[in-house]
Symmetry: C2
Subunit: 389 residues, 2 copies
């Protein structure tokens, strides 16, 4: 087990109707709040009205910044920073999934920073302070509701970049599984791919031994694999959503990478894809992750064997363990396909045209290797895009 430090202070408020507590939770931080969300869905479902009522009852004045898009944009972040400064807001409250929350984190870190908030994403600076962030989660997927991460897309050059900081851990996150009942099929499936990818990025590691966290990751993956088809079939299955939503948070709250180094190459390779084609991150991961697995398989077949047996219940062949190990990848593809996910780029309408460009961008012209399990140069990254075609 690698040495580590771990601290996650996010307060989770979980259960039916918990969004009614948003005013009380927010009031612990500020009476002036930036409400940050996407489009009309929270108005259609009535969530917006319930939140506004709770905030008003707690004596909180609200400045609204809607318009967050999937692959959230730097320009809207800048607008949020301006609003917070001009109006003296003390809390950024995100309502939505990873896009709204990541955008809120960017705003929160940008407000007290004198330079350009993109500096954090470009690796030129690290945040030293941030406004508090609160969240009301509506899409189980990104895990941003209890994570240190934020991913933003800069429109100029369509660069999609991330940073991590303990300063942007949400102070509270409200998780009501009922809020997921209205999600369309594609968002559910993309979310499942994202959650599972967070777990698998952590699973494929060179750190040894990591038995405890291996078992926890396997337990979380099996939970997702059990719950996802149930919510696909019956969108208002509270019990299944509850398991899936909580698993999605734990998948990415840093507990499951304690004592181990994850890979994260697939995430970086996917970020170029969704940066270039503006597809959903989860949809991109469903094509990239199996391709990544095939490319890195021979680096550690024994780990793939454990994955196949412990996550997918593959019967282990002692005569031909490699066959059993590869079966795990096939099971993953079959599972994602069963949820309606495209597991090839063709299914997303994407061809080979921009592979060179994306591989160059991801590796910064070949000067940078991606991932830790097996660090990848531009040749390998290109090959992964090709395997995903």
């Amino acid at each position: 087990m690698d040495d580590f430090t771990f601290r996650n202070p996010t307060k989770i408020i979980f259960g039916r109707g918990t969004e009614a507590r948003v005013g009380e939770e927010a009031a612990a931080f500020s009476t002036k709040v930036l409400l940050h969300y996407g489009g009309g869905s929270i108005k259609r479902t009535g969530l917006y009205d319930r939140l506004m009522a709770s905030l008003a009852a707690a004596g909180i004045s609200v400045v609204e910044l809607p318009g967050v898009k999937p692959n959230p944009r730097l320009s809207l972040v800048r607008e949020g920073i301006r609003l917070c400064r001009e109006r003296g807001l003390g809390l950024v409250l995100a309502v939505g999934g990873g896009s709204a929350i990541d955008s809120a984190k960017a705003i929160a870190a940008g407000v007290p920073y004198e330079g350009d908030v993109w500096d954090f994403y470009a690796g030129k600076a690290e945040p030293r302070a941030a406004l508090p962030v609160g969240t009301v989660l509506t899409i189980p997927a990104a895990g941003s509701e209890a994570s240190t991460g934020t991913v933003i897309t800069k429109e100029d050059g369509w660069l999609k970049r991330a940073f991590n900081s303990e300063l942007v851990y949400p102070r509270f996150s409200i998780l009501d599984p009922e809020l997921a009942f209205t999600l369309p099929d594609a968002q559910v499936a993309n979310g499942v791919a994202d959650i599972m990818s967070h777990l698998m990025e952590r699973y494929f590691t060179n750190s040894r031994p990591v038995e405890f966290t291996d078992r926890l990751i396997e337990a979380t993956l099996r939970t997702v694999i059990d719950a996802a088809p149930r919510v696909m079939r019956k969108r208002d299955d509270y019990d299944a959503w509850a398991e899936l939503m909580w698993a999605g948070t734990i998948a990415h709250n840093n507990l499951l990478n304690t004592g181990r180094e994850g890979d994260w190459g697939s995430h970086e390779i996917e970020h170029e894809l969704s940066g270039a084609y503006d597809i959903a991150h989860g949809a991109g991961l469903a094509t990239i992750f199996p391709a990544w697995m095939k490319l890195v398989f021979s680096h550690d077949p024994a780990r793939f064997l454990r994955y196949a047996v412990e996550v997918w219940g593959v019967e282990q062949s002692f005569v031909d363990p490699e066959r059993s190990a590869r079966e795990g990848i096939a099971r993953l593809e079959a599972f994602w396909s069963s949820l309606g996910l495209a597991i090839r780029l063709a299914g997303l309408g994407i061809g080979s045209e921009r592979i060179e460009e994306m591989a160059a961008k991801a590796t910064e012209g070949g000067s940078r290797k991606l991932g830790h399990f097996l660090p990848l140069g531009p040749d390998e990254v290109r090959e992964i895009y090709r395997l995903a075609l």
Copy 2:
């Protein structure tokens, strides 16, 4: 899944030599620290000197309060409160296992409280403030290094009582598995019984469905079952200790009871035992928990079947599933015996003499039921003591 709130802000610093960081971590809270520990073992091992050097290097002045005993006493807590007040100390730093940490939490909650600190344990008051607590863990067992709980024994009447408060979550806990290398066999085994009991108290629940946390608890139990015999055989097996130590913390940091109600009857029944006979809590649990299981078995045989199959790998009989379910209890007894634990009170030199007295005390003269899985009155509590004989 039950609704819940969860927040655990304890910063974990895990790995070899991490005790050298105690000064830096403590300095974030105060320059005047109460160092609270047991006896000479931390001096014999050199840990005391390393801690004092780190604290001195960080400019911290130290007031010492050694003398914590297993089943820590109220009188020493009172002395700690007096010292903190008189000397204006700003951090209580516990070095040891659950006894030192629980005692430190009691001191921390007692300092700003105008009444008697025992009020918290007697259920007459709740803490509204507490000094910060830090810990350097030397005995993986109680999980107090990242929990809300503290258990103290009042010498007058030998009452052993607990309270829980988020205010006493340690602000930081230093976990160096090497510090466990010098533990004697009995302390290792008692610690394992304590850790497993924390997991099983959470496992046996009436909350439904709780698939995700079931799987996480099973994963943690299997980790302990795998690592414990290895550290018993080879006391300096760092890898096994690392798994066991981290599992022991996660077992009790409140993550694994999210969305479910645990039982905790066995803990209360054991507290009377160690209150009356001054035995180690883990040693008492090794006798009480199997007896509790036998008494409550028929309340939910299906849960015991899952426990047997998923935790112990029992082959399930579809013809006689009850046999398979009961096999789980037998495996637990065999495992604890293999670690040198007594699984009957006779092995601790304890007879039936004080059963009536303990059952009456635990149930407050029969006016109170214990546990949640199957609430137990005085008759059932007496029967559990008898089954443990």
